[in-house]
């Protein structure tokens, strides 16, 4: 064999890439031998025994399909299984949606939610006039960034999460959307925002609609949790339906991974809705034809199995009702865990306010912890969450919620204690003779101590560097 020539894949084009954060976290969790370890990382539902849960209605549908002699493995049409896509449209838009009866909706089956966001991004990158920037919330689902960047759309963020309130930074959000150039693309989470769990109220959505209309922005809804968030399908779809009713031209990426538990089967749908008008049907037909070309050139046609299951359930009255009950089971358990966690922390008297845990909605909660703090909790308490401080409520159950609450409590208490010790140490460097415990220490000295504490609280990294040094010293 001849001597190897240089590779076609040089290091500057194929560098050592960082491990995917989410799937890397899973590997670390699996490798951890600690008995009481808790996985609050992955965004898949787990039952009270921390096991994956195949929805009973999905098991039923599977059995029905198995016994159906007409079911085979033939290709679906490019746009997917028609019974599935039409039911999917009704699900998100409402069975009585004017957009559907006006025939100004185009639906195409995709590789779950990721595939839908990707197809939408690809379509917009090619056909949206001008060079639009896509705005998404800070923070957002980790994958949004990569999906839009890979199709060469410029991206930007709008403020979303307020660290102070652990709720929505509505003012910041509105300002950024208002400052964005007209005709920008605004990515919105339909419900159960990932990763924060913070959703706008209906009043806030109405304000956003007014703002987006003023700016002629294009709404791109990412809907991964319909029914899963509140247990009520219509309620979770309210924002999307409102925008459609308000006459927006918009698109929707719809995932069936969580609400049907069909994760790996990759069932999803992309919907494009155009505004009412004489040309609407022609426009939507042209859009559909272009989407088909894009789909054909990447996957040809979508996978059949997951769509068949979902379609069967969505189109059968009895199975649909059963599905709604399964949804309430899942969302109910999540809500119970939120309540349990909050009440335990309040019971323990853990410093801080914990109402955000029950104010937030859906699978995720944003703790507000920094990356360093997240890694500390992992080392110290064997609690695993993503580096942005997001926890998955689905990972909590009656068996571990107490342990988790205690771990958080311990961590917060220890942190404050360490902070105090550190502050005293820092203070005594400047005032070695002072005795802070003595009632004779001046108001000025106490004010200085308070100032130093507040300054450090505002700069967690510098404190934690010191904490780590302290830890290593103690080892």
């Amino acid at each position: 064999m001849s001597q190897l020539a240089a590779t076609s894949f040089p290091a500057d084009l194929v560098p050592q890439a960082p491990e995917d954060p989410l799937f890397g976290l899973m590997a670390a969790y699996r490798a951890d031998p600690f008995e009481k370890k808790i996985d609050l990382g992955i965004g898949a539902y787990r039952d009270d025994n921390a096991k994956p849960w195949v929805l009973p209605v999905v098991k039923k549908a599977d059995a029905i399909l198995r016994d159906d002699p007409t079911v085979n493995h033939e290709y679906l049409p490019i746009a997917g299984l028609p019974a599935f896509t039409s039911a999917a449209a009704k699900l998100i838009l409402g069975a009585n949606s004017a957009a559907i009866s006006d025939k100004r909706v185009h639906s195409i089956q995709t590789i779950s939610g990721t595939g839908a966001v990707h197809l939408g991004a690809l379509f917009l990158s090619k056909f949206y006039p001008g060079k639009p920037t896509v705005y998404f919330s800070n923070p957002t689902w980790a994958n949004h960034n990569q999906i839009f960047s890979n199709v060469h759309l410029p991206i930007a963020t709008y403020p979303y999460f307020s660290k102070a309130t652990k709720g929505l930074d509505f003012t910041g959000m509105k300002r950024a959307i208002s400052d964005a150039p007209n005709h920008s693309i605004i990515l919105l989470h339909a419900c159960a925002h990932n990763p924060t769990g913070v959703d706008p109220t209906q009043e806030q959505w109405k304000e956003l609609a007014i703002l987006l209309r003023e700016k002629s922005h294009f709404p791109f809804f990412d809907c991964a949790y319909q029914g899963f968030a509140s247990g009520d399908l219509a309620k979770d779809a309210w924002a999307v339906r409102y925008f459609v009713e308000q006459g927006f031209e918009l698109c929707i990426a719809q995932s069936f991974a969580k609400n049907f538990g069909l994760y790996g089967e990759r069932a999803g749908c992309f919907h494009f809705v155009t505004s009412a008008g004489a040309e609407a049907q022609k426009t939507i037909s042209r859009i559909g034809s272009q989407l088909a070309i894009l789909q054909r050139s990447e996957i040809s046609n979508p996978p059949a199995y997951g769509a068949r299951i979902a379609s069967l359930i969505l189109n059968d009255e009895a199975l649909f009702k059963e599905w709604e009950a399964n949804l309430r089971t899942m969302s109910g358990r999540i809500i119970d865990m939120r309540k349990a966690l909050r009440s335990k922390l309040e019971e323990l008297g853990t410093p801080g306010t914990w109402n955000h845990i029950t104010d937030q909605i859906g699978m995720f909660s944003f703790t507000g912890l920094s990356e360093k703090q997240v890694l500390e909790l992992r080392d110290v308490a064997h609690v695993y969450m993503t580096k942005n401080g997001r926890i998955s409520m689905a990972g909590l159950n009656t068996g571990n919620v107490e342990y988790f609450a205690k771990a958080v409590d311990r961590y917060v208490q220890v942190t404050i204690l360490q902070l105090e010790v550190y502050m005293r140490g820092l203070f005594s460097r400047y005032h070695p003779e002072a005795d802070l415990c003595s009632s004779s220490s001046t108001v000025l000295q106490k004010l200085l101590l308070t100032y130093l504490i507040l300054r450090e609280l505002a700069n967690p990294n510098s404190f934690l560097v010191s904490l780590e040094k302290r830890r290593n010293f103690n080892k």
């Binding site: 050592q16 898949a44 085979n72 493995h73 590789i111 949206y128 089967e265 042209r286 990447e298 996957i299």
Partner: protein, 408 residues
């Protein structure tokens, strides 16, 4: 006012349009010879017995759920897939970066995306003719990468113009260019290079430092012999130092079309490249699909991982390829019997599902409109649509349109 008011209507994919037209055709005589999927002797879809058995076996697994696969896909599938294509040992596996894809289309697409990013080829060479979608796939991935054709099909003689292939690549291809090659059962011509011709192609690729990108959609389906159908790829793998890609589809050879089972393999020849390539593939795939679908992957992995099921599968492959061969014989017999003008002998030696008929557009239209016999506009005929019941009718229809054609 829509942002998309000035959007143009796209021309729909010809193959899919025909499928719809055929569905809508009410003639009891209709015969669909256009699409590239297998049909049994009853002209209906055929679920392979090995697939049926695998599904039943999988049912018994109490741990089955619908959780995500890893980003790379089903580990068992990838392992078996590598062995199937390359006859890979565990040592070989360390030189192959493999990822599960959305069937063959997904593998072609991801491979193109990978190459656009990782090696930045100036040109991608595609056979004339080729599967229509090759051009579309590369155009969408990166329009800046020039798409050029290399001579392949000699329309006059129904043979491969291998001199044309080699001389074009020799004189016009530049280092780092990608060459799309069909592993076996060339689509649409059914004409494959001989082993010696493959060796010559391999030499050109090595000399010019080209990147071969094999499209393998018919392994086992072509001749019924898995090793024979993968001979070209295995030759390149073992006997060259070329970095090469393989887009592997399980649609036809497992009859799992709509489940979208496939894999992309990147053969790395340099130490340390494999893990880097896997990371790039993962990142690209994560941003488009996150993870590939499990249902079909489980079935293929089950069959390939079980001695008895694999044996059954090989019987199923023989069954399908034998039926193709016998339909070829029946069609040529029927045409010869009628002494239909034209050269039809190549249909006996063509490999796989397809043959080019050399029929002209007006003849193809007549076949469809007057006789309800559907061929692709290119004149490609798919043997899968032929049965004992319709082969005489098809021959008669072809005979009539050929005779009705204006003399050349």
């Amino acid at each position: 006012m829509s942002q998309f008011a000035s959007l143009t209507e796209a021309t729909p994919d010809a193959a899919f349009v025909l499928i719809e037209a055929y569905k809508a055709d009410l003639s009891p005589l209709k015969v669909d010879l256009s699409p590239g999927f297998y049909r049994g002797e009853d002209a209906r879809p055929w679920i392979l017995p090995s697939v049926q058995k695998a599904k039943q076996a999988l049912l018994k697994d109490p741990t089955a759920d619908h959780e995500h696969l890893p980003i790379l896909g089903h580990a068992g599938l990838l392992d078996s897939a590598q062995k199937l294509v390359f006859d890979a040992t565990s040592e070989d596996a360390s030189t192959i970066a493999s990822i599960q894809t959305i069937a063959g289309t997904g593998a072609n697409h991801l491979g193109a995306l990978f190459l656009a990013k990782a090696s930045r080829p100036q040109t991608v060479w595609i056979s004339d003719p080729s599967w229509i979608n090759h051009t579309e796939i590369w155009q969408l991935v990166d329009n800046e990468i020039e798409r050029r054709i290399y001579p392949y099909f000699d329309k006059q003689s129904f043979t491969i113009d291998v001199e044309g292939t080699i001389s074009t690549l020799q004189s016009k291809a530049r280092e780092g260019d990608v060459v799309v090659l069909h592993g076996c059962a060339h689509n649409p011509t059914g004409l494959d290079f001989s082993k010696d011709q493959w060796k010559a192609i391999a030499n050109v690729c090595e000399e010019k430092r080209l990147i071969p990108f094999f499209d393998l959609a018919y392994q086992g389906f072509a001749t019924g012999d898995l090793a024979e159908d993968a001979w070209s790829i295995r030759y390149f793998f073992r006997n060259t130092s070329l970095e090469m890609l393989v887009a592997q589809s399980f649609s036809k050879n497992f009859g799992l079309y709509g489940e979208r089972v496939g894999a992309l393999h990147v053969v790395c020849r340099t130490e340390g490249t494999r893990s880097k390539i896997l990371n790039v593939l993962k990142r690209l795939s994560r941003a488009e699909i996150t993870t590939p679908p499990i249902n079909g992957a489980k079935i293929v992995a089950k069959v390939l991982g079980d001695k008895d099921l694999k044996q059954q599968w090989q019987n199923d492959l023989l069954h399908m390829s034998d039926r193709m061969s016998s339909m070829r014989e029946r069609l040529v017999d029927a045409l010869r019997k009628r002494q239909t003008p034209g050269s039809w002998d190549h249909i006996l030696t063509d490999i796989g599902m397809f043959s080019m008929t050399g029929l002209q557009p007006d003849q193809i239209r007549a076949l469809k409109e007057e006789y309800h016999v559907y061929l692709l506009p290119s004149g490609r005929v798919s043997m899968t649509g032929l049965t004992e019941n319709n082969v005489e009718y098809v021959a008669e229809a072809v005979h009539k349109v050929v005779l009705a054609a204006k003399p050349q």
